[in-house]
C-alpha cells in the first residue's frame, strides 16, 4: 500500500492553472522525488497535498484513508508534515520553542517528548548548542536543520520536503541529503521536491518530472538520471 497517493490534482490561481491533473504515489518507507523547472508547480503540489491550497478536482489518500477534505492542521496528527520551501522557521522564537511547535499536537508524556528531542538533536548536533538562540539569528544551513528538526518533532510517518538544499553552501547541501537518507532509514516515508535534480534522483526509489503542472515522466530515480529528456532539461 502506498503511504501517500495524490490522484488527478487540479489547482488554479485565478486564471493560472498551476496543476492540471497531477497524480503520484509514494510507497511506504521509500524516498520519492519530484523534479522540475521553476514554476512547474512543485510547491503547489506539496501545498495541495497538505491542504493549504484548494483543489478544484482530485483526491488525496494517506495510508489508505481519504484525507482530501481534512483541514490542514489536522493532517499533522495523522502523520503527515511538511518542511516548507524557504524553511519558514519562526524567527522570533527560540530554537527550543520552534522545536516545541513541531510537537504542538502531541499529547505524549514529557519524558517521551524529551527523548524525541534528544533524538532529533542527535541528528542535528549544531542545534543543541543554540537552543536558547532566536531562530532568526541562525545561519541558512542551521535554519534548514531547524526546519527539519521541527517537522520531525511531530513524529511524522510521511515527510514532505520542499527544496531543502535551496540557497545552501555545497558543504551543507551534502549534509542535507545525508540527513534525508538518515531520516528515511528511521522508517519515515519521504516526498522530496528539488531543483538540485541530480542529487535528488540519486537517492529516490521513485521520481516524477513535473512540467507546467503536469507529470511528464516517471520512473526509478537513478534511471531518470540516464534518461535523455531529464538530461537535456535539468542536468545540462
Amino acid at each position: 500500500m502506498s503511504a501517500l497517493a495524490a490522484d488527478d490534482l487540479h489547482v488554479a490561481y485565478g486564471n493560472i492553472r498551476a496543476l492540471r491533473g497531477v497524480s503520484l504515489s509514494v510507497a511506504e518507507g521509500t524516498i520519492c522525488a519530484v523534479v522540475g523547472a521553476n514554476g512547474a508547480g512543485k510547491t503547489t503540489t506539496l501545498n495541495a497535498i497538505c491542504g493549504l491550497r484548494t483543489l478544484t478536482q482530485g483526491r488525496i489518500t494517506l495510508d489508505g484513508r481519504d484525507v482530501t477534505t481534512i483541514p490542514p492542521h489536522d493532517l499533522v496528527p495523522l502523520g503527515l508534515v511538511q518542511v516548507p520551501e524557504g524553511r519558514r522557521v519562526f524567527s522570533r522564537l527560540t530554537v527550543r520553542e520552534n522545536l516545541s511547535m513541531g510537537a504542538f499536537r502531541r499529547r505524549s508524556p514529557r519524558g517521551e517528548l524529551a527523548e524525541d528531542l534528544d533524538r532529533v538533536l542527535g541528528l542535528f548536533p549544531r542545534l543543541r548548542e543554540r537552543m536558547t538562540q532566536l531562530a532568526g539569528t541562525l545561519s541558512g544551513g542551521e535554519q534548514q536543520m531547524l526546519a527539519m528538526g521541527r517537522a520531525l518533532m511531530s513524529k511524522p510517518r510521511t515527510l514532505l520536503m520542499d527544496e531543502p538544499s535551496m540557497g545552501l553552501a555545497p558543504r551543507f547541501v551534502d549534509q542535507v541529503f545525508e540527513t534525508i537518507v538518515a531520516i528515511n532509514k528511521l522508517g519515515v516515508t519521504i516526498l522530496l521536491v528539488e531543483q538540485n535534480a541530480y542529487m535528488a534522483l540519486e537517492i529516490a526509489q521513485m521520481a516524477y518530472v513535473l512540467q507546467s503542472g503536469e507529470i511528464v515522466l516517471a520512473g526509478p530515480g537513478p534511471e531518470l538520471i540516464d534518461s535523455e529528456a531529464v538530461r537535456t532539461a535539468y542536468l545540462g
Binding site: L52, H73, M101, F104, R150
Partner: protein, 358 residues
C-alpha cells in the same frame, strides 16, 4: 568627517516636507522647553503635588496599558485594528458594576470584600472575553481572506451596536459604580500620600501584565500565538489550528479590557455607555505610541500616555501661562501621539515595518 557629509547630503536631498518637519521639531521643542523652564522659575507645585500627579498618571496609564494590549495583540496576529475593543472595555465596566451591586444586595460586599472583588473580576473577564470572541466571529472571521478594509467598517459597526445596546439596556445617563469597602481613603508614607484605590489599581494592573507575559512567553498556547503572529501557513503546517489561536487572542485581549473596566470604575466611580469610545481611542493611541503589535510596547505606551497627560499640564503648560491647563489634558496626549509618530513612525518599541512583516 562623516558628520559634515551627512549634513551636506541632507541639505542636498531635503524636500519642503523635510524642512517643514525640521521646523516643527524645533518649534515643539522650543515651546515645551520654554514652558518647562518658565515652570521651573516660578514653581507653583510642591513635592506632594508632583507626587500625586505622578501617581494619577501611573493609575490612568495602567488602565490605558491594559486596553492597549488588546489592540496590539489582535494587530500582531491579524494586522487589523479592532475598533470595537473600547466597547468590550465598557461592557467589562458594566459587568463589574452589576456584579458588585449584586454582591451588595446579597449582603456580602461589606462582609467579604475580597470575595466580592474576586467575583467582579471573574464576571467582568467572562463578559468581556465573551463579547470579544463574539466580535471575532461576526466582524472579523467573515472578512479574513483577502486584504479588504471590510473589517475596519465591520468593527466600527459592531462598536455602534455595542454602544447603543448598552445605552438601551443600562440607560443613557452615567451610572455610579459601587464603592468597595477598604479601598477608600488615603495611604500616607514618607511624607507622601496617595489614594488607596490608586495603589490597588496599579498593583492589580501590574499583576495582570505579569500573568499575561507568563502566558505569552511560557505557555504552549502563548508560543503558538507568537508563531501564528509570525507565519500563519508555517504554523498551520505544524498542526496549529490558526482560527483557535486567533479566538484565544481575542479572548485574552477581551479579558484584559474587562479588568481595565473594573479598575476604571473603581477609580472614577462613574461609568457610561459612551466611555468605550474615549478610552478606546486612548488605548489605541497608547498601542501605536509603543509600537503596534509589540506587547511590551503597549505597556510602555499606556504608562507614557498616562504620565504625559497627568504631568504635562503642570510641567510645561502652566509655565506658558495657559489658563486652566488641565482642560488641555487630551490635547497634550494627542499632540504627543502625533509628534511621536512624526519623529518615530514605528512607535517607541516598534520594529521597522520591513522586519516586522508577518
Amino acid at each position: 568627517m562623516p558628520q559634515a557629509g551627512f549634513l551636506q547630503d541632507w541639505l542636498r536631498r531635503a524636500t519642503a516636507v523635510d524642512w517643514f518637519l525640521l521646523a516643527l521639531r524645533i518649534v515643539v521643542l522650543a515651546v515645551v522647553g520654554t514652558g518647562f523652564v518658565a515652570g521651573l522659575l516660578h514653581p507653583r507645585y510642591g513635592r506632594e503635588e508632583w507626587f500625586s500627579f505622578l501617581a494619577f498618571g501611573l493609575t490612568i496609564g495602567a488602565i490605558y496599558a491594559l486596553i492597549a494590549l488588546g489592540y496590539t495583540m489582535v494587530y500582531g496576529i491579524l494586522r487589523m485594528v479592532n475598533f470595537a475593543h473600547g466597547d468590550v472595555f465598557m461592557f467589562g465596566a458594566y459587568a463589574a458594576c452589576f456584579s458588585l451591586i449584586a454582591c451588595n444586595r446579597a449582603g456580602i460586599l461589606n462582609a467579604y470584600p475580597v470575595i466580592s472583588f474576586t467575583i467582579a473580576v471573574i464576571v467582568c473577564i467572562a463578559v468581556s472575553a465573551g463579547i470579544a470572541i463574539l466580535g471575532e466571529r461576526i466582524a472579523y472571521r467573515p472578512f479574513r481572506r483577502g486584504r479588504s478594509l471590510a473589517p475596519l467598517i465591520s468593527t466600527l459597526g459592531l462598536s455602534f451596536v455595542l454602544e447603543y445596546s448598552a445605552r438601551g439596556m443600562f440607560g443613557a445617563q452615567n451610572k455610579s459604580f459601587p464603592t468597595m469597602p477598604g479601598i477608600d481613603g488615603i495611604v500616607a508614607f514618607a511624607g507622601f500620600s496617595v489614594p488607596r484605590v490608586q495603589l490597588v489599581v496599579v498593583a492589580a494592573a501590574v499583576l495582570t501584565m505579569i500573568v499575561l507575559t507568563l502566558i505569552v512567553m511560557r505557555t504552549r498556547i502563548g508560543t503558538a500565538m507568537r508563531a501564528v503572529a509570525e507565519d500563519k501557513d508555517a504554523a498551520t503546517l505544524m498542526g496549529i489550528n490558526v482560527d483557535r489561536v486567533i479566538v484565544f487572542t481575542f479572548a485574552l485581549g477581551g479579558a484584559l479590557a474587562g479588568i481595565a473596566g473594573l479598575l476604571y470604575g473603581l477609580v472614577f466611580k462613574q461609568i457610561s455607555f459612551f466611555m468605550g469610545f474615549f478610552l478606546g481611542v486612548k488605548g489605541f493611541g497608547a498601542a501605536v505610541l509603543g509600537g503596534i503589535g509589540n506587547i511590551p510596547g503597549a505597556m510602555l505606551g499606556g504608562y507614557a500616555l498616562g504620565l504625559v497627560e497627568s504631568l504635562g499640564p503642570a510641567a510645561f503648560l502652566e509655565g506658558l501661562g495657559v489658563t486652566a491647563p488641565y482642560q488641555l489634558r487630551d490635547a497634550i496626549a494627542y499632540t504627543m501621539l502625533v509628534m511621536v509618530l512624526i519623529f518615530r513612525p514605528r512607535g517607541l518599541l516598534g520594529e521597522r515595518l520591513s522586519t516586522a512583516r508577518a
